[in-house]
């Protein structure tokens, strides 16, 4: 009687210990991970203007940022006297599939006050809105942000380039795809001025 | 190893367990998939109800009547433009408002033509339709009418010329499935 009770006790203690140790281990690993993430230097590699960068899914080279009065690359100045921020860049699709998610490539960081959050991407070849990037066919693209009326145009623009990594089988559907979007480089470009006619 | 002696009662228990296993599996499948099966049953067009000419039939919360199916025009490329007119008397507004409506023309060989998304211009030019907008089936369902209301519904179709004498309107509504209506053309 007492022997079996003791055996039961031992079993209970050992299983509790196992669970406890496992839990502690998991806790240690996750806290270690978040600690590492917190320790990771927030400094991104600097990207010089005109230098091509492989960002996983895309290959990108930033050229010139400037202030303009045109809402599109070839149009006349916007009638309401609005100002726009234009950025020239080369983008290539390094994936194996036609892609229309190029709006994710760039973010303005720190954000500029009065800058429209979602810019328009223009395909310079057509002077028309860019709707897809074909694999292996890099294009010259102009990104145009509208500036809110009265907003102070920035002196310089800091752009963070996002990269993504390819997974041949994702965890949910076992389908190939691009995941883990994260900043991989930053470029600071001077914003060239154009004469604003009165 | 020596043969263990198994008592008859244990043997009986084992036999029962063995027979219970397939039943438990079947029960599991039923419990797992009865919702899917029900969904399938309610989304399929399985039983056609033939509606004799100039009579109304009930489906999906309304009484439906075929008012006319006629060829409006024939295009130069050999396509016939057809206009279908229906009348619906709403009985159960809640069931009636379940989208989408599937109102098609069906040929005897089973081919089906859906209505045109934009009403063909030939239909809009008809004198009796000038300046009037008659709702399509989906528009009628989406207008959420009250019980007792009589609605006119009309749809425009484009199909090969020569099919216009053979096709019959078929109406299927989510609230009415697995039943659907096939209307007989008068005359």
């Amino acid at each position: 009687m007492i022997v079996s009770w003791l055996a039961g006790l031992r079993q209970a203690i050992s299983s509790k210990l196992t669970i406890g140790i496992g839990g502690l281990l998991a806790l240690a690993i996750t806290s270690g991970q978040s600690l590492l993430e917190a320790l990771e230097p927030p400094v991104l590699p600097a990207l010089a203007a005109g230098t091509p960068l492989d960002a996983g899914r895309w290959r990108i080279a930033l050229h010139e940022a400037r202030l303009t009065t045109q809402s599109r690359p070839d149009g006349p100045p916007a009638p309401d006297g609005a100002q726009f921020l234009a950025l020239d860049l080369d983008v290539g699709n390094r994936s194996s599939e036609t892609d229309n998610t190029f709006a994710r490539i760039l973010i303005v960081d720190p954000p500029v006050e009065g800058l429209q959050p979602s810019p328009t991407f223009w395909l310079m070849r057509d002077k028309a809105m860019l709707s897809a990037l074909q694999p292996g066919l890099p294009e010259r693209v102009q990104v145009i942000w509208r500036l809110a009326p009265g907003a102070k145009p920035p002196e310089r623009l800091r752009l963070v380039v996002n990269g993504e990594t390819f997974k041949p089988r994702d965890n949910l559907l076992a389908a190939p795809g691009w995941f883990n979007r994260k900043p991989i480089a930053a470029a600071t470009l001077p914003v060239a001025r154009v004469e604003v006619k009165p | 190893m020596s043969e263990a002696v198994v008592s008859p009662s244990v043997l009986r228990m084992r036999r029962i367990s063995l027979w219970a296993l397939p039943m438990a599996l079947a029960l599991g499948i039923v419990l797992q998939s009865h919702e899917n099966a029900w969904e399938w049953w309610r989304s399929r067009e399985l039983f056609a109800r033939e509606v004799p000419a100039s009579t109304a039939a009930s489906l999906g919360g309304a009484d439906w009547k075929l008012m006319g199916l006629r060829r409006v025009a024939e295009r130069a490329d050999g396509r016939a433009v057809m206009l279908l007119d229906m009348e619906a008397v709403v009985r159960d507004p809640e069931a009636f408002a379940v989208l989408p409506c599937r109102l098609v023309l069906e040929a005897p060989d089973g081919r089906r033509w859906s209505p045109q998304f934009l009403t063909p211009s030939e239909v809009n030019r008809l004198p009796e339709r000038r300046g009037r907008t008659i709702p399509t089936c989906t528009q009628a369902l989406a207008s959420k009418p009250t019980a007792g209301v009589t609605l006119r519904v009309s749809e425009g179709f484009v199909l090969p010329a020569g099919m216009d004498r053979q096709v019959r309107p078929v109406l299927s509504l989510p609230a009415g499935r697995p039943h659907y209506l096939r209307f007989e053309i008068p005359g």
């Binding site: 194996s96 599939e97 897809a132 066919l137 076992a174 | 081919r111 199909l159 099919m163």
Partner: protein
Amino acid sequence: MSGAFAKLGALVLAAVLLVGMQRYTPGYAEITGPIPLTGKIGETLTGRTFSVRADKVLLAERLRFKAYGREVERDTGGVFALVIAALEAQPASVNVGSAIWRSAQGARFVASPRFQGAPRLLGTDRLEPGLPQRGLVIFEIPRESVAGATLLVAASRWPRLDTQAEIALPATLDTPAPLIDLSELAYE
């Protein structure tokens, strides 16, 4: 001693089996993926909701067309591949919205969106039974993706348990024409 070896062997065998299953079991996307329907150029393929026949492939460096009353000319860093094809709904009205040029290397090029408003583009209008549509699909591809490609036609870009017509295109094609005017193209 041999018992220990047997145990170890069983363990290794189990591990190998598990790794193999994990590696080679088809994934969900594969099991519920497109149902291929293969054929050659000039052959009519009849799938679940439509039938398709690709007749001709043309290459061009520039394309000219008229859209919304405006003359437009498009050039490319690669080459334009034009596929002249016929599509028909079968047995019910249907939208066939996806045409893909799959290169011999496996890259998938979706039909170019740079030709909106061009005449006789396939995939714009819904298909009707008995009314075959003859028209054009335009792809923009790098020159190295021309040879030995396959045309994929389906109701959507990633068909799930639905027909995907896979048409083998000619292994070699003529040198690209410097300019093709879409309004002068012979479809028949």
